[in-house]
């Protein structure tokens, strides 16, 4: 398996955790429309690419 697997930051995906996150978020009203799953998704981290030994994001290029 490639070592370049996606790693997500830890996030509390329980209903209580998501509600708590929304309560403290200034963007709560906007994100409510995507409740509950979309709001809980972390931003995907793009897979790294190895170019001449450099570990880069695809968009770096």
């Amino acid at each position: 398996m490639s070592p370049y697997f996606l790693r997500h930051p830890s996030i509390d995906l329980t209903r209580r955790g998501v509600l708590k996150g929304l309560f403290f978020s200034t963007g709560a009203v906007l994100t409510l429309s995507r409740w509950p799953v979309a709001a809980a998704q972390p931003a995907p981290i793009p897979a790294p690419v190895l170019v001449n030994g450099w570990l880069l994001r695809a968009e770096d290029r």
């Binding site: 790294p48 190895l50 001449n52 030994g53 450099w54 570990l55 880069l56 968009e59 770096d60 290029r61």
Partner: protein, 484 residues
């Protein structure tokens, strides 16, 4: 006090303890046993200073991966390799004593707690500074780790006056171990020979072989051969599981936010994967050293990275125009080598001037050794990438697959370890958890040859901790059975 070889040859002193080898372990033990009031003889094979003749005893052959010549990696005179070491010290980690997921043979028969009580005394002997405590870098899989750096004590100089003035310790130069007489599991005497060809026998209640991470194996292989296998009846692991700390330049990195790793304040930062990360990624232990580049080298690195990654290059230019300070870092590493039966010290056909076969070192790095360094670097690169705090470039030899270790450069730390490993059972090692030969009631080993595994930390501190622990053990033994 100093004892000339001729004097030693004519006297009939029965010592409590005879230590063969006056390097870090031997001198630490002699000084400590003298404080405990035990009559001790410390035997050094070489002179008080460097001589070609003594150093030539260390010549040997190397088979396998490129390695440093055996007579170039250590010193054979009073003080041993503490006469040229760099003074870099750090205790082994708690998890270094355990069976690692990637290599179960890394387990020691003792835990970190067994050595911890000897840290303060060892630090005093070695003139160590108190390093900062390690701490994890949140979300990275790495810990920021610290070493005691830059104060390499020369034990010969530090303790010359103590040894000369001691009423309890005699020390003798050019006293080379050439034979040993054992009967019914008791070593009765050792035979020493000078460079002039004089010989003498020394009797003691306890003997300690402290000749270093290659010589302990070589001498025991020879002595066991001479005893027809009676010194070490199960010698299946004798000379085996020999290890080094591979060292290499492993790459470079540009840090957009140097403060995230502490490199805004310091020129050198050390990182090591956490125990959880070692288990998760199937790694052995590893220490990465990040050394900050100067402004000119950093700008060259920014230019190189911008050529490879133009879009990122535009961002870097913007940040620079806004006054952001970025730092380039050079990455060097020292990492743990897997304990493998195949890596060994064995006896060569050629003999030294005392007629003892020279060492032949058979040493190769394994797939796990190579995986450890490559994946540790990828792990750091991923952290920089995921947090968008930098970008990392692997050294050419690490970027290629399969990884081929460099054939020149540092190669290794000149840390000779294993060969007479400590174990619960004679089938799996040469000494027990007290560092005593399984088949001899009164013969012990001191030094890094007893390490069953090696972590990534420089070994001298652990060598001295073990030596002090052995002093306490011998002190208890001698008090239990006082001299008649």
């Amino acid at each position: 006090m100093y004892l000339a070889f001729e004097t030693l040859a004519t006297q009939t002193t029965d010592y409590d303890i005879c230590i063969i080898g006056a390097g870090a372990a031997g001198i630490a033990m002699a000084v400590t046993l003298a404080e405990q009031g035990h009559r001790t003889l410390l035997c050094e094979g070489g002179e008080a200073s460097y001589s070609e003749r003594s150093q030539a005893i260390y010549r040997g052959d190397v088979v396998g991966d490129p390695y440093i010549p055996l007579d170039g990696a250590r010193l054979r005179y009073l003080g041993g390799s503490t006469n040229h070491w760099g003074g870099v010290c750090r205790p082994l980690d708690a998890h270094d004593f355990t069976a690692k997921t990637a290599a179960p043979d890394t387990a020691w028969p003792i835990t970190q707690e067994a050595l911890a009580p000897y840290y303060t005394h060892a630090a005093k002997l070695l003139n160590l500074t108190q390093p900062h405590a390690d701490y994890p870098i949140t979300g990275s899989g790495f810990e920021r780790i610290y070493f005691s750096l830059g104060n390499p004590v020369r034990l010969k100089d530090k303790y010359a006056a103590t040894l000369n003035a001691s009423a309890h310790v005699d020390y003798c130069l050019t006293a080379n171990l050439v034979a040993l007489e054992s009967h019914a599991g008791q070593v009765e005497h050792v035979t020493l020979r000078s460079f002039q060809g004089d010989e003498c026998q020394v009797r003691a209640r306890y003997f300690v072989l402290a000749c270093g991470g290659i010589e302990n194996s070589r001498l025991l292989l020879w002595l066991n051969q001479q005893s027809n296998g009676q010194l070490i009846r199960n010698a299946s692991t004798l000379g085996r599981y020999w290890m080094e700390h591979p060292h290499a330049s492993v790459g470079q990195a540009l840090l957009f936010e140097p403060q995230a790793l502490g490199l805004d304040q310091e020129y050198n930062v050390f990182l090591s994967p956490t125990p959880d990360m070692l288990a998760k990624r199937q790694l052995l232990n590893c220490g990465l050293r990040l050394h900050r580049m100067n402004e000119e080298a950093t700008q060259q690195l920014i230019d190189t990275l911008s050529q490879e990654a133009p879009s990122l290059g535009e961002q870097l230019s913007t940040w620079q125009s806004q006054g952001r300070v970025m730092h380039g870092v050079i990455l060097r590493a020292a990492w743990e080598q897997e304990p493998r039966f195949e890596n060994r010290v064995e006896l060569d056909e050629e003999v030294d001037e005392f007629g003892i076969p020279r060492s032949r070192l058979v040493w190769r790095q394994s797939a796990l050794d190579r995986h450890t360094i490559r994946d540790s670097m990828l792990l750091l690169g991923e952290h920089l990438l995921n947090q968008n705090i930098g970008r990392l470039q692997l050294a050419d030899w690490l970027a290629a697959q399969p990884v081929v270790m460099p054939s020149e450069g540092e190669l290794a730390g000149r840390h000779h370890m294993g060969g007479t490993r400590m174990s619960h059972r004679a089938e799996q090692g040469v000494v027990n958890s007290d560092c005593r030969l399984f088949d001899q009631e009164n013969m012990y080993l001191a030094g890094s040859s007893v390490f069953p595994s090696v972590g990534h930390a420089n070994p001298t501190l652990t060598v001295v901790q073990l030596a002090l622990r052995l002093c306490d053990h011998l002190d208890r033994q001698l008090r239990l059975t006082p001299r008649a």
